[in-house]
Amino acid sequence: MTTKTVTKPEQSEVAKKIEELRKLYADAPEVGRIALEHLMGSMKDGIITDTEKTSSAGRTGLRRGKVSELTIVFPIAPGGAKRLKAVLDSGFNVQAPDRVGSVHDMRYVFLDNDTRILFATTYDGEWDPYVDDFATHIPDELDVVFCNCEGWPGVRSPAVKDYIAKYQVTARAWYVAQPNLTVRDLKRLERIGPALDEFLDKIA
């Protein structure tokens, strides 16, 4: 953790947060209460260094550096769960994020006895400017999956952005290891790394 001179207002902010935590944990399970006491020291530093790192990712989700999270919980339409499972299990849906080139990860999780589906993704930049591009290039990949969500208007519909916003849930807390490296940056570094190693070996 970085050390940094703590200003007076920051100090009192930290003290307030710690005090609030202590109060809330007074009747937490004992294992947690003890853990909190152990962590007291390092927690102070953590609170300072994490301020200002997370921001809003535009209309939806949180952002750190260049990378944002998008978390959506869709209601599943009647009969949709079986279809969803089949199409996801078929595996072909991995190609679309590869082609988009800005998706770090993506997951689909069934909840509440297959009545809801959690869709969560980590992506670079913004998705809002690209929705029209997705509707042009990968409309079927999106519609074949999301048609199983109750009320999905189709990716080409002007109502699709509002539909997504309706079921989107902004994460309360979020971490990403490399906030300043996009998928393209990572792919480039993956190519350059070995080449650089080889070069260093040769000149050593």
């Binding site: 800005s102 400017p129 690209y130 997705f134 290039h137 990968i138 996009t182 940056d185």
Partner: protein, 459 residues
């Protein structure tokens, strides 16, 4: 709202060039001079009176020179201007959010930072006082005065209409821009707007640039309401740029070891040589015959330059108009075009001068499209001020990006790429506004808002 099947089967009516303003569809005259004037409307009734007087002189696209004028006049309104005219609230609320917020409020989206930040803009850009923008074009100074007289008479005796901005513009010698480059060579071809120049790219659906026609998504705009207001109208992003010619010359001199190399580096940054010859067709040296040939200087694609060895990925023209360079990506470039109507202003910096003389010089661009968000805003935020789309991290457009003396510019090359460092800001934004440029019938609708009830509120 039309269903999917309805939108796909919409037939595109022929372009009503008698109702679309000339500024939207026609290139500037040659030679050209003119003025931009911004007015503030202090009283809705007077604003509409001014509009009634100026209406007969607004040039339609099928008759560039209105019979009453030896020049042409274009008119557009900011959101504040429409409010000041007394446009009904339901209509105001129906405008796209980016237009309602205004360009200055969207600086974070546009990455208008540092010197480009709205706090540094000239008055009245970015303030609620900019209401009506007039673009006045003529071929000579004498003709310009006649057009200016007509414009002045439309509001001279109306004490609540004030001129809050005026700037003259004019062509530089040889029709070059202040950096010495032939400019204004390319615009998307609007389907139905007239014969295409030979060698032009595929026509783009008219609805991308004018409302009331099918766009590239097969959709026809259904906002703003009412139909009378929106039909044959469009949006304009006005951007006034200051060009630091001395800094550009100094940088080239510092990075090059010969005048020839200076020219090459300059061309690599722009994507064309000064003559206008595109790097893709003339990768090693300028070809002024090619540059001067309108049937050839735009007839190229990036299909044979997917490694950027001829024209760098980061070059200005490749960024703002990628053509087929992004064909392997999930991006629909046909959704991200705008029409660029630009004029230069200010005196040239004399040849060989390396120190700034303090003169105001640069270009004013009217970037025209029916969908500000996925046209101007998209290009500015995704392709000019960011480089993730070309795998170049946070590199900026070398000419108009946000470089603060720390800018990087990558020139692909074998065996090893060349990378220039320390790019300063060559171009700064002096001001900008989002405007709505209505059709001629819509202008009459606006001018008669107070009168005839039949005209208002009907969808």
């Amino acid at each position: 709202m039309l269903s999917l099947s309805e939108t796909l089967s919409t037939r595109s009516p022929a372009l009503e060039t008698s109702d679309i303003q000339a500024t939207v569809l026609r290139p500037r005259p040659k030679p050209y001079c003119g003025e931009y004037v911004i007015l503030r409307i202090g009283n809705a009734e007077q604003g509409r009176e001014m509009l009634r007087r100026i209406l007969p002189h607004v040039a339609p696209a099928d008759e560039w020179w209105a019979p009453s004028l030896p020049g042409w006049l274009g008119i557009a309104f900011t959101f504040e201007g429409l409010k000041a005219l007394g446009v009904p609230q339901a209509s105001l609320d129906s405008f796209p959010i980016e237009f309602r917020q205004g360009m200055a409020a969207r600086a974070a989206i546009l990455n208008d930072l540092g010197a480009n930040a709205p706090a540094n803009w000239e008055f009245p850009f970015g303030t609620p006082e900019a209401h009506v923008a007039l673009a006045i074009y003529a071929r000579s100074k004498e003709d310009l005065q006649k057009v200016l007289d007509v414009a002045r008479k439309s509001h001279k005796d109306l004490d609540q209409i004030s001129v809050v901005y005026r700037m003259p513009f004019g062509e530089l010698p040889d029709g070059r821009n202040p950096f010495g480059f032939k400019d204004g060579l390319h615009n998307p071809h609007v389907e139905g707007s007239g014969p295409a120049a030979t060698g032009a790219d595929t026509p783009v659906k008219a609805g991308e640039f004018v409302m009331g026609y099918a766009d590239e998504r097969g959709e026809t705009a259904n906002v703003p309401i009412p139909l009378e207001l929106r039909r044959n109208g469009t949006f304009v992003a006005i951007r006034k740029f200051h060009m630091d010619v001395a800094a550009f010359r100094r940088y080239l001199q510092a990075e090059a070891s010969s005048p020839e190399e200076e020219e090459l580096i300059a061309a690599k940054m722009v994507g064309r040589w000064r003559s206008g010859a595109p790097l893709v067709l003339a990768p090693d040296r300028d070809d002024s015959a090619l540059g001067a040939d309108g049937s050839r200087n735009n007839d190229f694609s990036y299909a044979d330059d997917m490694k950027g060895l001829k024209c760098p990925f980061s070059a200005h023209i490749r960024r703002v108009n990628p053509r087929d360079a992004l064909k392997n990506d999930v991006v629909a470039v046909n959704l991200h075009h705008f029409l660029r109507r630009g004029t230069n202003y200010g005196p040239p910096l004399p040849e060989g001068v390396l120190e700034d003389d303090g003169a105001e010089r640069g270009g004013v661009f009217l970037l025209i499209g029916a969908q500000l968000h996925r046209q101007f805003e998209f290009i500015q935020s995704q392709w000019v001020t960011d480089s993730n789309f070309i795998g170049h991290g946070t590199e900026q457009d070398p000419l108009i990006g946000n470089n603060e003396g720390d800018g990087v510019f990558t020139i692909p090359r074998t065996p090893v790429r060349r990378r220039l460092h320390g790019l300063p800001r060559f171009v700064s934004v002096r001001g900008g506004e989002y405007c709505f440029m209505p059709g001629l019938r819509a202008l009459r609708w606006l001018a008669h808002l107070d009168g005839d009830d039949e005209h208002t509120g009907r969808q």
